[in-house]
Symmetry: C2
Subunit: 196 residues, 2 copies
């Protein structure tokens, strides 16, 4: 059973996988179609050699420049700053944004050893100094680290008065329940209340 145990052990290292789910998945893989296993196995084994960060914005791409940076139909006066590459996908697929992106590669977290030097602020500053942006939207997470990072960006861009600096609204999630909202979220949604 060494092959099953090896597979289980490897699956268990994935985030959110426990003993039982790893076991179920590996037995599932023994039962499924072999060509599916080969396709999945190959996709996992080769993903890192196919994908690299876009040299301009830092989101993942298979091409020289990512599909957002090379898309002529996007609004080049809008820049959205996010923490991680997958945040680009979340925002792009919301359908409410048609500008460019900049991926920081994380958020400032002094306790976790992530200072501004670990993030892509130099290339952000370079892009902004090349001009053309009318608005920069800070879309870091509504967490302590995301807030710190947002403050740092505001400080970084303080001399660019031509640029409107905005941040994603915080508040109650759509479909959420007021009774389950935490105090901080309620406080933010009150402070950020809009004319109705």
């Amino acid at each position: 059973m060494e092959a099953i145990e090896e597979l289980q052990g490897l699956i268990k290292k994935l985030p959110g996988m426990g003993e039982k789910s790893a076991q179920r998945l590996s037995y599932h893989l023994i039962r499924t179609d072999e060509s599916y296993n080969r396709a999945l196995g190959n996709a996992i084994a080769t993903i890192k050699e196919k994908i690299h960060p876009c040299p301009i914005c830092g989101c993942y791409t298979e091409h020289d420049i990512c599909s957002y940076c090379s898309d002529g139909s996007r609004d080049r006066s809008l820049l959205c700053i996010v923490e991680e590459p997958q945040d680009v996908l979340s925002i792009a697929s919301s359908g409410a944004y048609n500008g460019l992106f900049h991926v920081l590669g994380g958020a400032i977290n002094p306790l976790g050893g992530i200072g501004p030097d670990s993030l892509s602020f130099p290339s952000l500053l370079k892009r902004i100094e090349e001009g053309g942006f009318k608005e920069v939207i800070i879309a870091t997470n509504p967490t302590e680290e995301g807030d710190t990072t947002a403050l740092y960006i505001r400080h970084l861009l303080k001399d660019h008065e031509e640029i409107a600096l905005t941040r994603l609204a915080s508040g109650l999630p759509i479909g959420g329940d007021l009774g389950y909202a935490d105090k901080l979220t309620l406080m933010r949604s009150l402070r950020g209340r809009i004319r109705f």
Copy 2:
């Protein structure tokens, strides 16, 4: 982004995977160590060629005969009948059973198109007719299909009066799945098994 989307699409086909979990996992794989990805990818791609059912009991093995059937220290007068190969692992790892196994390959489910002919009853009967078993423990799931299968086995073995036929005690929640039972519950249900 085709490679990420392909990977995500393949991960989403795994049981229990939704859109978001597939997305999280694929972005996790881009960030992790390449050697881990290669090991996991290879383990998934090759699992089906490494593993085959044991010709005697039907549980999965890499060898000619599985580790349970070839283990001389196990009690050869005890036979435990289970539905699926992973059930063997659950029962063996409970530590309360030291006999042999027989994997049926499922449970009788007329509505799902699984009749007795789809299951390994001929080889079960052959093993029992070769003699030597003093007790046969029916460890099918405590579901309608598992119960039907247990009744079928009782009918099948009705002429073998020399064999004590038992079934796992309740303690397993009705409608549950053997694969999710904790070791203690399995141990109790083995110790409290009742004459069927």
